[in-house]
């Protein structure tokens, strides 16, 4: 029996254009084609994220001045705000990906949604914890029932529910469908998170960047921007790697199943 060389296998998994060039371009396979295409450049995403975060850490921790009232504590903003921004971005990816999945039933988009959910949960949890660390010395409490904090915690609960559904439902397609519906319904939390600081009285500071202008000092804009771009790129990189893991796991299971069925068939057939 001849085995395909591994480099060829890697090419097959990551580089070969999909759908094949003779496949017609339709709305259904456009996103699939885009995901496959951009997967080739995930290393560039990772590298760019590392550079942005390194520069952001340097400017945020060493080059930017402390705040007049908060002192050094203001530096927590350079991790907390990018994490929070990125978690809402990640949930947006999950939300629109779920709509697409329910419409086109593309398994690659389903994998991407599952990957986004896990990474979004990580970013959301870290945003909550860093916010809590910031709240203690500034507000005097680790936690308060503030609308922004509560709506953000609800996002984490929705993501927990999504991931549990994916884990607990045996049938892959049904699990994906139920989870996509939950993600779409949970999307209502996104505008609540964004506008909670304007709709209700809150301890949380209003938006730093809005149509009314920039509400923070010029010295703080650079590290915050660098860290935000770095976090978005890092999210992109992590989603691509996680999607690849899910794809490889599926492939491995499929191959094992095929081998098992072949063995079983050869043993039982006359």
């Amino acid at each position: 029996m001849r085995w395909a060389p591994v480099p060829l296998l890697i090419n097959y998994l990551t580089i070969e254009p999909f759908p094949p060039s003779n496949c017609p371009i339709t709305i259904g396979n456009m996103l699939n084609r885009f995901i496959r295409y951009i997967q080739r450049y995930k290393g560039w995403f990772g590298g760019a994220a590392a550079i942005c975060i390194f520069l952001g850490l340097y400017t945020g921790l060493l080059a930017s001045p402390p705040d007049y009232y908060q002192g050094e504590l203001v530096r927590i903003m350079y991790v907390h705000v990018p994490l929070a921004h990125t978690s809402t971005l990640a949930y947006s990816v999950l939300f629109f990906g779920s709509i697409w999945y329910l419409w086109k039933r593309d398994p690659l988009v389903d994998n991407m949604c599952q990957a986004s959910a896990g990474i979004c949960a990580l970013f959301t949890a870290l945003a909550l914890v860093t916010g809590s660390i910031w709240a203690k010395p500034t507000w005097g409490a680790w936690w308060t029932w503030d609308p922004r904090l509560v709506s953000f915690s609800v996002l984490l609960l929705i993501l927990g529910g999504y991931l549990m559904l994916r884990k607990l439902v045996d049938d892959r397609e049904s699990g994906g469908r139920y989870a996509a519906i939950l993600a779409i319904v949970g999307g209502i939390d996104l505008p609540i998170i964004k506008f909670s600081v304007e709709w209700w009285r809150t301890l949380h500071q209003p938006m730093s960047f809005s149509t009314r202008g920039v509400a923070i000092s010029d010295d703080m804009v650079l590290p915050l921007t660098l860290m935000s771009i770095g976090a978005w790129l890092l999210f992109g990189y992590m989603v691509m790697v996680r999607t690849q893991i899910l794809y490889l796991t599926d492939l491995l299971q499929a191959k094992k199943g095929r081998l098992f069925s072949q063995t079983h068939f050869s043993q039982t057939s006359p």
Binding site: G71, I76, L83, L122, L126, I133, L252, K255, K256
Partner: protein, 168 residues
């Protein structure tokens, strides 16, 4: 395999270097002298930073004019402070603050000329460490998983061309 772990070792080394640089910078900018050390070394002529709590009932003077006298407490040690400098907008009794100035060895009073920010980067360190460590762990676990999956596919020889049952 070796390249994978080397890459990660370089990244961890870079992070450690950044952490050390940051720590040194903060130590340089924010280190303070305790009141006990200040009183026990009266011959010091260079300006020092002292941290302590403004004692209750001792604050007097025109703080918005930059003139104030009060007593600063740090544990069992206290020192009288005469402040003359920029307006003190946020001073109040029982508040911990940092002052820059010199000790007058004759009168045993601390002549403060300016305030500085409180050395409170413990919270900052906790937030950054938590984020960096969690993200690094997640990235390492994911990269390792990809490598293991590829290796598993290679070692188990699971990839094989489909056998067409109709070929025979």
């Amino acid at each position: 395999m070796t390249g994978f772990y080397t890459r990660w070792a370089i990244m961890v080394g870079g992070l450690l270097l950044l952490a050390m640089m940051t720590f040194q910078q903060y130590q340089h900018d924010l280190s303070t002298t305790s009141l006990a050390t200040l009183i026990n070394s009266p011959g010091r002529s260079e300006p020092v930073r002292i941290q302590g709590m403004v004692k209750s009932g001792t604050l007097s003077g025109e703080t918005d004019q930059g003139q104030a006298t009060f007593e600063l407490v740090d544990g069992p040690t206290s020192v009288a402070v005469v402040y003359a400098g920029p307006p003190l907008e946020n001073i109040r009794e029982l508040k911990t603050m940092v002052f820059i100035g010199q000790l007058d060895s004759n009168t045993k009073t601390f002549k403060a000329k300016d305030t500085a920010l409180i050395n409170n980067f413990g919270f900052v360190t906790a937030a950054y460490l938590l984020t960096v460590l969690s993200m690094s762990w997640a990235l390492f676990a994911m990269s390792q998983r990809v490598m293991v999956l590829f290796k598993e596919i290679k070692d188990e020889k699971l990839y094989e061309p489909e056998i067409d049952p109709l070929a025979k």
